[in-house]
Point group: D2
Chain length 284, copies 4
C-alpha cells in the first residue's frame, strides 16, 4: 500500500481537522499518524498526517488536485503531499573536518537515513578519499572571497544537475551565499558547535572554555541570511568540568555535533519539521 | 468557555478520527489539542482531545449522552469525558521519609498541581507535623501484619469519606492490599527508587551500589498486585561514579524520586495517561 | 576523630603535592580524599584535601600555624582550613517566588545541607508565612531605588549580627549592591533561570521561547558586579518543544532552578568550590 | 618530555600518597594529574598518576625497578607503569551489525583513539568490505558449537601474532570462551544494548518494549564468565515513549551503543579504568 505524508499550515480556524480527516476517508486513506499543533500567539495551525492509501489504483496527482480544490483553497493552506517512497536527494557540503562526514556516511551505509546522497561538495580536496571509500561522487569547488560568484555558480549548477532536494553542511566552514539560501529556503541544515544563542560565530568552544560553563552544546538549524540565527531544529548538551581543556571540549563536542546533526537530517528527511516565524515545529 | 478532555481507547478501525472530530463540530466544540496513538501490535487506538465548548449553554451530561449513543457504541469505545474545572482529589500515603512529601506539598502550595489534597494517610505519626505546616488533615492508620484487615477497612472508609479520586504513595513503605488496588485500578501511583525493571523490591540503592552501575534511576508506576511490575508512567536517571557511597546514591536518588513522582502526578492529574496491556500511553 | 578540609591554590610549582602530603603525615593526619587540579593556561595549582586527625589532642589553631609557617609561605599559597563540624551559616534572600524557598527548606529539614539557616531576608512580606512554617526568623527589608543605601545598611547589620558565612539568592529579584558583594566575595550564590551565557538579564524564558530553542537551562553562579557574569558553579538543562508555551517553560524551568541551586548550595557548604579567574574549580 | 602513567591498588594504609609523591620527586618527575580513591567498604586504595619526567635520560625500566623495590613491595601494591607513547593494540571482534564498527573506525581515522588497530576478527564475511575501506586486515574465523575449540585456537593464535593488548566486541554476537577470557582478563570490552542489570541476555530491546519502559540504555563492561555480569565501565540512557516501535528502540539504541562503547574504549586505552571486586574505578 502506498503511504503518503501531508503537511499543512494555515491560519487557525474551526473545522480544519474535521475537514482534513473527512478528506482522508473520501480518498480511501487510513490515518496512521496525525500530529497537530496550534501556535496560540500567532494563531497558526500546523498538521502532519501519515496515511495508507488502501485503494491500489490511487493516483497521487489526482489526490493532490482534489486536496487543493476541496480543502486547501477554502482554508488558505500552505501544504505539501509526499509519498514515503520518494527518497529526498541530499547533498553534503564539507570542508576539512571529517567526524560528521564519517558519521553521516556510516549511518547512511547502515540504512538509517531514508535519502539518496548523490554527491559531496567541498572547498578543499582533503576529504575526497573519504567520499571514495563510500563511492560517492566528490566535487571540489574552491571558495574564496575572490571567486565567490563563480563558486556559487558552480555549486548551483551541480545541485541542479543532481536535482538535490536539501543540503547538509557537515562542518562546512564557509558562509552560504544569499542566492543559494533563497534557492534552498529552509532546506539547508547547518550544525553549529555551541548551544545557540550562546556563543554564535567562530571558535565557540574557546569562548565556552573562557566563560567557565559547566555544560556545552551543539545546535542544528536551517540556514538563513543571519549567521547562526536560523530556525533551530535540534540541540543537545553534555557536561564539562574544570578538568576539561579546550581540546576536551572539542572532543566531547564532536559527539554532540554528530548526534544533533544526524537527528536533524533524519527529521528533515522524514518530513517531520515545519518552519514558521523563524522557529520549527518538530513532529517527532 | 468550558474546556473538556475526552479520552478514548478501542480497537483500531477506519474512520474513528473523522467520526470524533465531526462530533466535536456538532456540539460546537473547538479542538485545542488532539493526540492519538495506535498500538500496531495490539491493534488498539488511543485518543485524547482537549476542546473548548463555544456555546455557553452546553450541557456536559447531554454531551456525554450524545457521545455514548452516536459514537462510542458503534466503535465499542472505552471513554471518559472530564471538564478541566473538576480538580481531582488526591490522597497522599506516607511513612517516615519526608523528602517526597515536602516536594509535593511545596509544589502544591506553589500551584503546580491542579488537584485537591483532602488528606494525608500514614502508618506512623512521624510526619504529622509536616501535614500540619501545610494545614492538611493527617490520619495515622497503623498497618501491621496483624491488623491488615482492620487497617485496610479504615483506609477505604476514609478514602470514601473524602471522595478520593487517586492515591499517591510518596515513599509509603507498605504493600497495598488487593482490595484497595481493585477499588483504585490504575489510580494508585507509586515511586520506586530504581530504574525498573532493574532492582525491584527492597534496598535498590544498595543493590545498585553492589553491582557497580554508572547510572541510577527512579520509576513512577501504577500499582498492581505484582510488586513493582505495574505500568510505568515516568522514569529518569542520573550519573553516579565510584566516588559515590551508598549514602550518595540515596541522596542523588532523592532528587530523582521527587521529580519523577511530581511529573507522574502532574500527568495523571491532567488526564494525560492511559493504561493498556500493563503499559502506559502518555500524551505529554 | 576530627575531620578537616584544606583548600589551597597557588602558582603551579614542583613539589607542592609532596610537601602537603608530607605535612599531613607529620600532623598525624590520614588523607581521606585528595583532589587536585592544574590550570595549565594560567599555571595555577588547586588542591582540596579531606583528612582525619588520628590524634585526639590535635589542636586546629596549632595545625594552621604550622601549615602557614612550614608550607604556605614557601609556596605563596592562598589557603583555608575548616573542620567538618563547623556548619557554615547561610542566609536566604527571597522576594515573591516560593518554589526555590520551599525546596531549600524541605531539603534543610530533611538534613541534606550541612548548614545553619539563621534567617531569611526579603524585600516583601509575601513569604513570611513560609519562613514561619519552618520556624526561621524572617526579616522584611524593603529595597527600592530610594532607600537603597538604608536598605543595604540594614542588610549588612543583620548579616553581621547573625555571623552569616554565605548568602543564597533564592530568586531574590533585586540587584545586590557593590558593598555587599565586596563583603561577601565569592560567597553570594545566585540562581539565574537560563543556560548562561544565553539569555542573561530579565525574562529569559520569554527570550528562549521567542528564539525557539529546544533546550532550556538554569545556572547557579557567584554574584559579581557584572550582572549574570559571575563564576558559574553549576548548570543543568531540560528539553522543550514547540508544544510548550512560555508558561510550560517557566514550570519546567522551576525544576531546573530548584535542583541547580540546591547542588550549588551543597557544593559551597561542603567547601568543594574554588574561584579563580572568574571560573570555578568544583571538586565533586 | 616523556610522560608516564602509574596505576596502583592495594590495601588502604597510612602514608601511601606521601610515599608515592615523594618517589615522583626522586625520579625527577612532575605530577600532572593525581587521582585517588578509597573503597571504604573493602578498604582498598586506588591511584592513577600522570607525570612528566623532566630528565631526558630517564630510563623507564630503571624507574620501574626502583618503584618495585622502594614502594610497591612495602605496601603490597598491584601496579602498572605505562608510557603515553605506547599505543595499546586493539582487536575488533564483529559479527554482522556495522554501526559500531563504522563509528569506531570513523573515530579512529579522525584520531580520537590513541590505539593501533592491527586487525578485525569476525565469524562472518559480511563486514569484510568495511574493513577494506579502512585498510585494516580482516580475519573471518567461523564460530559454531561444532568448531568452538578450533575457532578459539585460531582466535588466540592471531591475537598473539599481532600482540593484541585488548579486545573490543563491537556487537560480536558470540559467547567468548573461558580460555580467551582468562588470557584477556579485564581486557575484553563488550557493549550490551540495555541498561544493565535490566534486560540481560538476548533481545533486550524487545523486552524493554514489552515492559513499557520510558528510558532505554546501553552498557559497556568487561567480559567475565558470567554473561552480562562483568564490571561496568560506562552506561548511558535515552528517553523513549509509547509512540516508539521496537524498530525505533533499536535505532535510538544504536546511538547509545556507539557512544557508550566509544567512551569505554577511550577510557581503557588511556588507562583510566581499574577493576576491583567486579566493579570499576574510572578516573575520568
Amino acid at each position: 500500500m502506498q503511504k503518503i505524508i501531508i503537511l499543512i499550515h494555515c491560519e487557525d480556524q474551526k473545522g480544519i481537522i474535521a475537514a482534513v480527516t473527512d478528506f482522508i476517508v473520501r480518498v480511501e486513506g487510513n490515518i496512521i499518524y496525525i500530529d497537530q499543533h496550534v501556535d496560540v500567539e500567532q494563531n497558526v495551525f500546523f498538521m502532519r498526517l501519515e496515511c495508507e492509501l488502501t485503494n491500489k489504483n490511487s493516483n497521487l496527482e489526482a489526490i493532490k488536485n482534489v486536496f487543493e480544490i476541496s480543502i486547501a483553497t477554502d482554508f488558505k493552506m500552505s501544504w505539501e503531499i509526499h509519498t514515503k517512497e520518494q527518497k529526498p536527494k541530499m547533498a553534503l557540503f564539507v570542508s576539512k573536518y571529517d567526524h560528521c562526514l564519517f558519521d553521516i556516511l556510516g549511518r547512511f551505509s547502515a540504512g538509517e537515513f531514508n535519502v539518496e546522497i548523490p554527491l559531496i561538495v567541498s572547498n578543499h580536496e582533503d576529504l575526497r578519499s573519504v567520499a571514495q571509500r563510500f563511492d560517492i561522487p566528490f566535487y571540489c569547488i574552491p571558495f574564496t572571497k575572490e571567486n565567490k560568484e563563480e563558486g556559487e555558480k558552480q555549486q548551483i549548477e551541480i545541485l541542479r544537475k543532481y536535482k538535490i532536494d536539501f543540503i547538509v553542511l557537515a562542518r562546512y566552514m564557509q558562509i552560504i551565499t544569499p542566492n543559494l539560501i533563497t534557492l534552498y529556503e529552509n532546506k539547508i541544515i547547518n550544525i553549529h558547535h555551541s548551544f545557540l544563542p550562546a556563543f554564535p560565530g567562530a571558535k565557540p568552544y574557546h569562548s565556552a572554555f573562557k566563560r567557565g560553563v559547566k555544560i556545552i552544546g551543539a545546535t542544528s538549524h536551517y540556514v538563513t541570511n543571519e549567521l547562526d540565527e536560523g530556525p533551530i531544529i535540534e540541540q543537545d548538551t553534555t557536561r564539562v568540568s574544570h578538568i576539561n581543556s579546550i581540546d576536551d571540549f572539542i572532543m566531547k563536542g564532536r559527539d554532540l555535533e554528530r548526534i544533533v546533526l544526524a537527528r536533524a537530517i533524519k527529521l528533515h528527511a522524514e518530513r517531520k519539521t515545519m518552519v514558521y516565524n523563524n522557529k520549527t515545529v518538530v513532529f517527532s
